[in-house]
Amino acid sequence: MNEARVIGVSKRFGEVVALHQIDVHIGRGEFVALLGPSGCGKTTLLRLLAGFESPSSGEIWLNQKLVADKDERISPEQRRIGMVFQSFALWPHLTVYENVAFPLRHQEHIPEEFKRNPRARVAQMLEMVGLGGMEQRYPSQLSGGQKQRVALARAIVFNPTLLLMDEPLSSLDAELRIQMRKEIQHIHRELGTSIVYVTHDQSEALAMADKIIVMRGGRVEQEGTPHEIYYAPQSPFVAKFVGRANFVKGSWADSSTFLLEREGQTSLPVRVAQDLTPFHRDQVLPVRPDQIRLHPWQEGLDGVRGRVQHVQFQGRELLYSIQVGEEEWEVSTDIATRFTYGDQVAVELVV
């Protein structure tokens, strides 16, 4: 039940190859985020799952049923998939009720009780997304956040096999985005539907997903839990794209010791607990801004010396740019650590 598989799928648009031999598994009830910069193929993959495109090679399976390969494709209207579009795509000439009830009338295999009493089902869904009683409004009378909720209700009203979301929060303002994240999590818990969620915003993916698939140039760069993606990035790209990362120069003595390069001093050994093999080739150590501590510099100290270049007050934290040798490192600290422009600091790595 409720699982999807993408096996060796490639997609070409004329000369351009949008996807190279992608393999993805979306387990039952799993919340999978496709994360990547624009042009990485994440939206193409979503549209393949929805059935708007045919794969150039490979197979797509929904619930142990082959729905598309290079020759044949089951059309989107026969896949029982719910989808939330970036632009909401509500039908402006229909009321909220008519929008949400549309799939109940036209989808296949709708539970008998929904068909018999669509009003009750729509009311229940609108209640769930916090729009109870708004049935008779037209989309033009709703705010952006409300439109998004209607789009969500329309996508889930018929208990879809799979719920696809294409950057659903990108047209909302910052505060509303945070709130909608909670609602989407809530709906995922309530319905238990598998979700594929496309986004370029790493914080959305980290916050909501069970599994993140980072994509780049039409390939899967890394796949894992949010924790794995954030703390054990398997490539410089992932380290840079998900959260910020400084690539500290030096050399790897062995898999758990990194020798940090210092100007005019011997290199400083740093103990590393995780496996960071992918970074051995480039002789760098990925360090998150919050994995660096700053202390007042004292002469004679055997540490790494840096100079404060910029300080940005962020409310909860301070964001420093520290000049270390030729490099500039990004560091975030709590507001108790106060330095000003030009201060000499000792930099400590806590990895």
């Binding site: 929805a50 989107p76 209207e77 989808m83 970036q86 549309f102 036209h106 033009s140 018929f158």
Partner: protein, 581 residues
């Protein structure tokens, strides 16, 4: 043609946001051929026939007819008159159109809504009706000269609209709305901040106008001017009413006289003239297309309709001038025409005892030809409208899915019959449909069905452009949302797409039906007894000297158009209110 502006306005929008829709592969291929073959047959083949005929000689292919025609003085006289009329009427249209657009877009002049509607009237009332109205106002026995004579006490002729100067004036007044529309749209979209930035950099308001506003508006103004120029070449009604009696030929009337007067033997000569006229018109269209592409004002940016210049004390002056201009150029001619239609015998003074309804009754009740013509025109307008609505919308939908070269080519082909002068298209239609395929003569030449085919071919692009605007506005995701929600083809079109495409579709339908209902150029070539249209009947009355009858029928047509406009306006307002809640 009067409604060219619509074509250009939407051209840009279509180019701006093309999207790549998807459809199953096999369908796509089938649809490609389903579009390509008919387009080639209906839109390109007739022009091919025209070209072939112009180079056909008794011995085979050659430029014999060309050299014969190019040696003929009458050809050059027609070319000269066509160009002079088109160029000078364009200058007039530019002066009026730009002034009016600037006043409406930037100043605090009052009654902008009314001015706008009045300025649109020349596009909606057929130009031959307007010409007829002008002959009643400024003809030798027109209101103007009679009034002057009455004032002077002796017969005076202030101005006579018959002749080249009359053609230029009436043409300019018929085509200034094209300039006005395009300039207005550009002026609205020039960001106010650009002018502010120039002022805060120390420029005086005169240099702001010269260095910022005008250069930015120039592509729009120039392309409006070219449109007026092309329409001037295309126009048949004005030179036919004002030039033929005065012995002034232009290309369109010369082609008409060749075909009507000398029959099929003159088709070769008419084809050569058509190619001359067609090439001049296509050069104009090409230039205009380039200009629109070059425009530096973003067509998708929001319109800013706020007042930018307060006229102060000069406001009354400006309002008075605009009011007087619109009154003299729109109302007065139409009133003169109506008064002619109400007078017992042409030339009697406008006094109560000379008034009568008999001309109206005659054309509506007693004259079989007019009754037939009204029925024919209604039938043609209805069928052309419905056919264009269906075919044009489907074509627009297909076209938007294909930003490819194929899509561009087919759209270019479909717009050809509209870009070319009507007389050229009319002749090409005769050549094609007398014997569409060697050995097959469907026998529709001279029937109303032949005119129907010609109308659909010529006006289809109007519907395509209007539908395109709506389809682009609605966007792809709305349809995909319906698909993913389980909506099959029929559900998607009936429940989602058609209601959303309706505004553009109906705008196109209105445009096509109105244009077809009052069409003159093509039907004047293609009609024969039993298939005459309203335009042909009015033209016939006028040529036979029955001015009271042509005036009566024209007055009825104008009244019908005004009523239709009012109803349309009210409906639109109601619709907007509903959609905006």
């Amino acid at each position: 043609m009067a409604t060219n502006w619509h074509t250009t306005v939407t051209e840009r929008q279509a180019g701006g946001q093309r999207r790549n829709f998807t459809a199953p592969l096999s369908w796509e291929k089938a649809a490609g051929w389903l579009v390509l073959v008919p387009v080639a047959f209906f839109f390109v083949y007739p022009l091919w026939k025209l070209v072939i005929l112009s180079v056909k000689t008794e011995t085979g292919i050659g430029l014999g007819v060309f050299s014969e025609m190019l040696a003929d003085v009458r050809t050059w006289s027609a070319v000269y008159h066509s160009l002079v009329a088109a160029v000078l009427s364009t200058v007039l249209a530019l002066v009026i159109g730009v002034t009016l657009a600037w006043l409406c877009a930037y100043t605090d002049i009052r009654g902008k809504g009314a001015i706008h509607v009045m300025a649109m009237l020349p596009l909606l009332i057929p130009s031959y009706v307007m010409t007829l109205a002008w002959t009643q106002m400024a003809g030798p026995a027109g209101v103007l000269n009679r009034f002057a004579s009455w004032l002077a006490g002796t017969p005076v002729e202030l101005w006579n609209v018959y002749g080249l100067d009359g053609i230029i004036v009436v043409m300019g007044l018929s085509h200034y709305p094209l300039v006005y529309m395009l300039t207005l749209s550009v002026l609205y979209r020039i960001p106010k901040e650009l002018e502010w930035a120039a002022r805060s950099s120390g420029a005086a308001s005169r240099s702001v106008l010269r260095q910022v506003t005008l250069p930015l508006a120039l592509p729009g103004i120039a392309s409006g001017g070219l449109l007026a120029f092309i329409s001037g070449l295309d126009n048949f009604g004005i030179p036919a009413f004002l030039g033929i009696p005065a012995g002034i030929p232009v290309l369109s009337t010369l082609i008409y006289e060749q075909v009507i007067g000398f029959g099929p033997s003159a088709f070769g000569r008419a084809a050569v003239l058509s190619i001359l006229l067609g090439v001049i018109a296509l050069v104009g269209t090409g230039l205009q297309w380039l200009l629109l592409r070059k425009g530096r004002v973003d067509q998708t940016s929001a319109e800013d309709r706020s007042v930018r210049y307060a006229l102060g004390k000069k406001r009354f002056l400006a309002e008075g001038a605009v009011g007087l201009f619109l009154f003299v150029t729109s109302f007065l001619p139409l009133l003169s025409m109506a008064s002619t239609a109400l007078i017992k015998a042409y030339g009697l003074p406008f006094l109560t005892e000379n008034l009568t309804w008999k001309h109206f009754l005659f054309v509506l009740r007693d004259h079989a030809g007019t009754r037939e013509a009204i029925a024919n025109s209604l039938l043609l307008a209805g069928l052309t409208g419905v056919l264009c609505l269906i075919v044009g919308t489907l074509f627009a939908y297909w076209r938007i899915q294909r930003p490819s070269a194929l899509g561009k080519m087919t759209e270019g082909a479909v717009s050809l019959p509209y870009a070319l002068p009507g007389m050229v298209v009319g002749l090409a239609m005769i050549l094609t449909w007398m014997e569409p395929i060697p050995g097959w003569q469907p026998g529709i030449y001279g029937t109303v069905w032949m005119i129907l085919i010609a109308y659909v071919t010529r006006f289809l692009i109007l519907q395509v452009k209007s539908s395109t605007v709506s389809i682009l506005q609605v966007g792809r995701e709305v349809e995909e949302a319906a698909r993913i929600s389980g909506g099959h083809l029929w559900t998607r079109w009936s429940r989602v797409l058609l209601p959303l495409y309706a505004p553009g579709m109906l705008t196109g339908l209105f445009l096509v039906m109105l244009t077809a209902f009052t069409e003159l150029t093509i039907s004047s070539l293609l009609w024969s007894s039993g298939s005459q249209t309203i335009g042909v009947v009015i033209f016939g009355f006028e040529q036979a000297g029955s001015t009271t009858l042509s005036s009566a029928l024209s007055t009825l047509i104008v009244t019908a158009i005004l009523i239709l406009l009012a109803v349309g306006g009210i409906w639109k307002r109601y619709w907007q209110r509903r959609m905006e809640g």
